[in-house]
Symmetry: C2
Subunit: 159 residues, 2 copies
């Protein structure tokens, strides 16, 4: 069991949200878990949901779309674009929950080599207003992020 | 000659920039000028530069890339993704100047029907920090926007 803690930071002045997490794997391996759809579908999101990927083209200018299922019910659908994919280093993508298509976030994920086969992953999300950011926080996204990262720990240790 | 004024608003508290402009044409026609690459290349950017489009797929999940030329010299290159293209109404896209690839903006352009064949176009750009926003403003983007919209007035009146 990993003892790495997920930190979720809400900026008091800016419409941004930051998630910081260390992983016990090298940057290339962690990056692959973010970009290979067969791996992404195994860890993204909370434990009780299953992620079914419709499309996932993690290249600069590519896009993605996936649905969250609980049992035999589709409970949410998400989509976005990959603005930049800088292998092993950086991912810049847009993100929308289809239920609120006008609330779009721009998410930048940076993969930092900590040495000794460890990687710090920092995702900064920015939206247009503090109110939209606060709605995202209030949606319970923290549960999905924390549980997803625990699944990713298991995936990374099992390869 | 159009008398429509371009307003550029800088939010004092948020890392956003807003450009508001009315056009003497219906929303569908103005929207087409934003999405058809043959039209975009005729108005985008300041007067003394020529926009050469490498790729332009204005569909949800598509992307674009273009260069600005002055005479026989390439002076800048830009790229991004189309997060959402909602015909006649809304465009959400990312935008980067290749010279500063870590400074990405998320630009939402809304086309509002004012009736009588007029359209209000509002573009809201958000970036991660006030400092990045201020650098964009200081880059002289206002000249490019204002002159580009004047060229668009001419294009729309000539069709």
């Amino acid at each position: 069991m990993s003892t790495n803690e997920t930190r979720i930071e809400v900026d008091p002045d800016l419409p941004t949200l930051r998630v910081i997490r260390d992983f016990d794997a090298a940057p290339e391996k962690v990056f692959r878990a973010w970009t290979d759809p067969d791996l992404v579908s195994r860890w993204l999101g909370p434990r009780e949901t299953e992620m079914r990927i419709d499309s996932w083209d993690a290249t600069t200018g590519g896009s993605y779309r996936y649905a969250a299922w609980r049992g035999d019910e589709e409970i949410a659908r998400f989509y976005g674009s990959f603005h930049e994919v800088r292998p092993g280093q950086r991912l810049v993508q847009t993100f929308t929950w289809e239920g609120a298509p006008d609330g779009v976030s721009l998410d930048t994920t940076v993969f930092e080599d900590l040495g000794d086969g460890r990687t710090r992953v920092t995702t900064t999300s920015v939206v247009e207003t503090i109110e939209i950011r606060d709605m995202i926080v209030a949606s319970g996204m923290d549960k999905g992020v924390i549980e997803g990262y625990e699944k990713l720990d298991e995936l990374l240790s099992g390869d």
